[in-house]
């Protein structure tokens, strides 16, 4: 269930980057790139760049190389949309708007406080602020939040969003409000609203990470009366009802979106967002190289996709010219690039450890794009932006980045194959960097006699038909399978569960491709799910991480980094470490 669609975005952008270098153009606001700025490289990682509270009459321009899966808060799974929807919606919980590690903290948004859970761990209760208004002036009630949750069940109408409520809540077969409406409005029995400011979620099993679930854009309130007619159902995305600082003025589907100030928004009830500009314009389907040029030359303010500068020429300009360099941030995206080492195909742990030692992390890092645009060499499964990350280095990835050949040979002897062995290496042919990384891994394994045979697949079927099908992996001897992973929420559960929980091994669409099914790891996951003590849970995640690495089931390659560029006229810019991109909810403009 947890796969951030950012990775789909990356594939698409790599293709877009291959297109011709276009001149700046399109409908864009005239920005000025030469305004004096005291900002410095990577400043946005740890501090707010150009902090400001003054409102501007200007227009903030986002460029986007593709289109959102939907602008409907209940129907989106794109990381950049989860960031962007906070400009026009509020959720029960949200992430604190602040730079650095503090950005992964959960804070109440519509709720007055984090949820409280019943003693049996099954009922989560939230009280909501009584005075939050929709854009039509009406007050947000708990029924509106319940209706929003009900909409996530209508998969035939709104197919894109995650399915956490269906998986976690009782009444999993609820058909959604569009089927249900004729009989009885508000038919979902597992969400109750004792009064207009209280909402309760009834779970099937205890799930102590539930606050993270209601921080996803799907807990946005929706008035049933708005979700009809012109803006009903699938068309709700043309004008979602705003509870945030801005509201839709016009939206030409998948082309141009214009947001204007929402007069009913109150800064006091929504401290995590700001209303500092007059208008926000999103230009969609803009060629990526044009976006990169637009942002650097000031014709657009932010590349909304948040995947960083993709055009090599622009990247070069930013990295070599001090003027541009000062306006860039090299941010961790929260994504891990790695290889699964399948425990069924390579059953001997020493053979897998030999792979861990022999891999040349430097050439692999170069294949991903190098230390700046590729990522930092990884030695753990969880990236540093995840709550519960602990640094450790079992296989000398950091101390001997070009591979510990001696240790690898020792492990091969222990494995009983001193001269090496042969295994398949699955990768996705339509991702140039993954192709390069697979080759770099292959070349470094060859130095100790491990022969990795490259086996390429198209990414569309990679999880559904090939690497994600254990039977296929076994029959084709795919001991090494390239992968990428980002979490839906920044803690160990969100990051590790689908990779290493034995219960998640599926006959197709499997994401635990290593087929880790270790009773001690499984029991740690169930302990964590039942434990409502946040500190105790936080101590569990590094234990799981270390267990995965100790059995050499995952070969971490890089913590992905993206080179983000901020137009110097934009104020209040910083990297939100949860999204791995700029925090869109607080941006302003210099006059």
């Amino acid at each position: 269930m947890i796969s951030r669609t950012k990775m789909y975005g990356l594939g698409a952008l790599a293709a877009a980057g291959a297109l011709t270098l276009a001149a700046c153009g399109g409908s864009s606001s005239p920005g000025s790139s030469n305004s004096s700025s005291s900002a410095s490289y990577n400043e946005g990682l740890t501090a707010v760049v150009n902090p400001s509270t003054t409102a501007s009459n200007g227009t903030l321009t986002f460029d986007l190389s593709n289109t959102p899966d939907s602008t409907d808060p209940q129907n989106t799974y794109y990381a950049f949309m989860w960031d962007f929807v906070r400009l026009y919606t509020m959720q029960l919980m949200t992430y604190k708007s602040c730079p650095g590690a503090c950005g992964t903290q959960l804070v109440p948004d519509l709720a007055t406080a984090p949820g409280t859970v019943s003693d049996n761990g099954l009922v989560w209760t939230y009280h909501i602020k009584p005075n939050v208004k929709f854009e039509n002036g009406q007050t947000v009630t708990s029924e509106d939040i319940k209706y929003g949750v009900e909409r996530t069940y209508a998969k035939s109408v709104l197919p894109n969003g995650p399915t956490y409520y269906q998986v976690l809540l009782q009444d999993p077969t609820y058909p959604g409000p569009y089927v249900d409406r004729a009989k009885n409005v508000m038919g979902l029995t597992s969400v109750t609203t004792p009064n207009s400011t209280t909402i309760q979620f009834h779970l099937q099993h205890p799930f102590s990470d539930f606050n993270y679930v209601v921080a996803i854009s799907q807990s946005t309130p929706v008035q049933p009366s708005w979700d009809t007619g012109q803006y009903g159902g699938a068309n709700y995305q043309l004008h979602p009802e705003s509870t945030g600082p801005y509201k839709f003025q016009s939206y030409t589907l998948n082309k141009t979106l214009t947001l204007v100030k929402n007069p009913y928004w109150n800064a006091a009830t929504d401290p995590e967002a700001k209303q500092l500009v007059n208008k926000i314009v999103v230009n969609m389907n803009v060629n990526q190289s044009q976006i990169d040029n637009n942002v650097v030359s000031g014709y657009a303010d932010i590349d909304m996709g948040g995947v960083g500068v993709q055009t090599a020429a622009v990247r070069d300009k930013i990295l070599t010219n001090p003027t541009y360099h000062a306006n860039a941030d090299d941010a961790l995206s929260g994504f891990l690039r790695f290889a699964y080492l399948n425990e069924k195909v390579i059953p001997n742990v020493h053979c897998r450890e030999a792979i861990e030692y022999a891999a040349n992390k430097t050439t692999i890092q170069d294949a991903w794009g190098g230390p700046v645009v590729g990522g930092a060499i990884a030695s753990t499964v969880m990236p540093p932006t995840v709550n519960g990350y602990q640094s450790f280095d079992l296989y000398n990835a950091l101390s001997q980045p070009s591979g510990d050949i001696a240790a690898a040979k020792t492990q091969l002897k222990l494995c009983g194959k001193p001269s090496g062995f042969t295994t398949g290496l699955a990768y996705r042919t339509d991702r140039p960097q993954e192709v390069a990384a697979a080759q770099a891994l292959q070349a470094s394994l060859a130095t100790v006699g491990i022969k990795a045979q490259l086996d390429g697949y198209l990414s569309g079927k990679y999880y559904t038909d090939f690497a994600g099908v254990p039977a296929y992996v076994h029959s084709h001897d795919l001991g090494i399978d390239m992968g990428g992973w980002g979490a839906d929420w920044p803690d160990g559960y969100g990051f590790l569960d689908e990779l290493s929980n034995g219960n998640t091994i599926a006959p197709a669409g499997n994401t635990n491709i290593s087929e880790i099914n270790d009773p001690s790891i499984n029991s740690l996951f169930s302990t964590a799910a039942n434990d409502t003590n946040a500190a105790a849970r936080l101590a569990i995640w590094p234990q799981i991480d270390k267990k995965i690495m100790a059995q050499a089931a995952i070969l971490p390659m890089v913590y992905q980094k993206v080179l983000l560029y901020r137009n110097p006229v934009v104020t209040n810019v910083y990297v939100d470490s949860y999204y791995g991109m700029y925090n869109y909810a607080v941006l302003g403009l210099k006059k």
């Binding site: 055009t311 070069d316 170069d366 770099a440 070349a443 198209l458």
Partner: protein, 330 residues
């Protein structure tokens, strides 16, 4: 139109230029058409130059891989770790790496181009051979027998020509398992590429042969053979085929460059050779898909130039050959 090559010049009448050649004080002697063609070809400097280049290329493809360094060695020290581009001007060209190194990896470009030449040429030659065999076979049958056989084969060729070839090739490479027909890895991939390319280029050859046969079969020497009691197979093989050597040679040399480009296109689309084995198309594709050509143009220019020169050499040689064998068809 061309007459049998083994028929002496006296029988067909000596072309004036050949006669003029013979008058340089030496005894006039009969020359075969083959000799005449060779004489014409020798005078065509461009064709000879192209032929020399083609021979050089074939030698490189055969012996080059034993002479160059290992193409899969990474040289991280030759790469700027921040920008990923090669250190030094023109893609890191140096004595040790005369064509520079690959951005991002530091692998030697010369070694990769040379080994890529072998892959590209093997695929192009064998695919052409396959296309020629199928095309000549069906062209002969269609042209000679005519009637419903001709209609059937000609329409089949039309269908093949109208086929969205690239789409089919991508789909086929996608669905064939990594181990099939007792082959695996690059052997299988090269075989599939040869099969696909050959199987889809035969109609060009088939149509030309069919047209030639249609006119040849009405000629007197065919009638003569037939009146002496020769049957279909004999006439096809002993009477018609020798007359087709000229066009077959010419169109083969013109098909080879097309097939080189087709292999490059398939590799460019990611359904070509499995990395790390280089091919020219794969190198070009890599330069474009990673965007490195913006900052390191040499990485794209070198394999691009290799394809360009090879295709041009084959084309010019084919043109020269055609002019020499059949000067009237200009």
């Amino acid at each position: 139109m061309a007459a049998p090559l083994d028929v002496s010049a006296a029988q067909t009448g000596v072309p004036p230029e050949a006669a003029a050649q013979g008058m340089g004080g030496r005894k006039i002697e009969g020359r075969s058409l083959g000799q005449i063609a060779w004489m014409r070809l020798k005078r065509d400097k461009v064709a000879i130059g192209s032929a020399i280049f083609v021979i050089f290329l074939i030698l490189v493809a055969i012996f080059g891989p034993f002479l160059v360094q290992n193409p899969d060695i990474y040289h991280a020290n030759l790469i700027n770790s921040t920008l990923q581009s090669p250190n030094g001007a023109f893609g890191g060209i140096s004595l040790a790496h005369p064509f520079g190194v690959e951005p991002g990896t530091g692998r030697d470009v010369l070694a990769r181009v040379v080994i890529g030449a072998r892959i590209s040429l093997i695929i192009a030659f064998l695919a052409t051979a396959l296309a020629v065999i199928i095309g000549v076979f069906f062209g002969l049958i269609a042209g000679y027998f005519g009637g419903w056989i001709d209609t059937l084969i000609a329409r089949t060729m039309d269908v093949f020509l109208a086929f969205p070839l690239l789409v089919f090739a991508i789909a086929l490479v996608g669905v064939i398992p990594t181990t099939s027909f007792g082959l695996s890895g690059n052997t299988l991939r090269v075989t599939i590429l040869i099969f696909i390319i050959g199987f889809f280029s035969w109609p060009y050859m088939g149509r030309i042969i069919r047209g030639q046969v249609l006119s040849l079969r009405e000629r007197e020497f065919v009638d003569a053979a037939r009146s002496l009691g020769a049957r279909g197979p004999y006439i096809l093989i002993r009477e018609l085929l020798p007359n087709l050597v000229g066009p077959i040679l010419v169109y083969s040399t013109l098909l080879i460059p097309t097939n080189i480009l087709f292999e490059a296109a398939l590799s460019y689309l990611g359904v070509g050779i499995i990395p790390p084995t280089p091919s020219w198309g794969e190198m070009l594709s890599n330069a474009v898909s990673t965007g490195f050509y913006y900052i390191d143009p040499m990485y794209m220019i070198i394999p691009g130039l290799a394809i360009f020169l090879t295709v041009m050499a084959f084309n010019l040689f084919g043109d020269g050959l055609r002019d020499a064998l059949d000067p009237k068809s200009r």
